[in-house]
Symmetry: C2
Subunit: 197 residues, 2 copies
DNA sequence: GAAAAAAAATGAACTAGTTTAAGACTTTTA
DNA sequence: TAAAAGTCTTAAACTAGTTCATTTTTTTTC
């Protein structure tokens, strides 16, 4: 994927909520850093401070923590046209607890902490963009945090499959289990059962 | 609680992220509606469209859904100095799935959908206020949605008690169970066990 | 302040999800 | 392209959390 294509993708994404002039578009693009991550390599590791927030132009990554027993808990899969990073660490500068690892060869556009602040000074419209982006993410997370607590594992799997039908085929069952919050063994049973229905 | 006190509370809350002139403060206050809710009565019920977003100046409310079996799942407790409502319904105008019920006599300041939009036109600084408010809420919800999936009920209780030490004594064990995502019977066992430790 | 209603505690029988282990299948790497 | 490493499946024994039923304690209401 070339520069022009990836810039078009991010400008389209931003364009859903705010209108930018040509000059503003060029200014915005100039604040972004292009990043490539090979499959199985890390974009971020626990202990680091998150220096960037990322927009994915190609590929797929998993964002996860390791619990006290060393078991992974995936908090999101990030694919093309999605944003990722650890916002808590990005904002507070405290070390992150997350790993972000590419599950496919991926390409991203990153914005550094300094440029993120600069962006609001130079193009205040971006306060609105992020206000709306965070508002929508919040709605999605409120739903997910309720589902996590009130649905059974089987129901969580059915909801995930319905919401992200394409993603199911791009990730391993093991990773899906770490996202749903169950063991790979039980994930295998659920999939067998649900497909039989 | 009189008008002046409740206005001071909300202006202090807003003042954490943006600075307003006296004129802007008066303008903002003029866009708000004062609401009182008696203990056990509803601020919102499933099926309605959320017409307001609320700031609580006094009291405590629970935000919950009822599942297919009629069992309640509490998604948040809202107390003084917190914001509540159903943002999804407020934004999309779709009917809400939530009930919001006062667990104590409560007082709130509401902003209507029309005034919320007007606010951004009249005082664009509020894009920034909400950008930061939503960003922080998002960080909290990401954490909660991960905890819901990766921690045991006992751990979720310990985390809740640590994060909201005062709230624990203001709500019933039954409501806490509906928040933690377990039965009241198991909640009772966990509390007995944790207090024994 | 007595009666009624709701919340909390306890226990026994049950179910959803875990653990451990082993074999079959797939993907990666040299 | 063979070997190694990782993923998926299956099954038996286990644990966290549920369900149902009963009693005690606390709160609400008139």
């Amino acid at each position: 994927m070339n520069y022009e294509q990836s810039h078009k993708l991010i400008l389209d994404n931003v364009g859903r909520f705010i209108d930018l002039t040509e000059l503003e578009k060029r200014k915005y693009i100039s604040l972004l850093t292009r990043v490539k991550v090979k499959k199985k390599s890390f974009l971020m590791q626990a202990g680091e401070t998150a220096a960037y927030e990322y927009f994915i132009t190609k590929g797929c990554l998993k964002v996860y923590t390791l619990d006290d027993n060393g078991a992974p808990h995936i908090s999101m899969f990030a694919i093309e046209d999605y944003w990722t990073g650890d916002m808590a660490s990005f904002i507070t500068r405290e070390p992150t607890a997350y790993f972000i690892k590419a599950t496919e060869d991926s390409e991203l556009l990153g914005i550094s902490r300094a440029n993120y602040q600069l962006l609001f000074q130079e193009i205040p419209k971006f306060e609105r963009f992020y206000r709306i982006l965070y508002q929508r993410s919040l709605i999605a997370y409120i739903k997910r945090s309720n589902h996590g607590i009130s649905l059974s594992a089987e129901e969580r799997y059915i909801v995930f499959k319905k919401n992200y039908p394409n993603l199911v085929n791009r990730i391993t069952q093991k990773d899906l289990a770490a996202y749903i919050g169950i063991t790979p063994e039980f994930m295998s049973k659920i999939i067998t059962k649900v497909n039989r229905m």
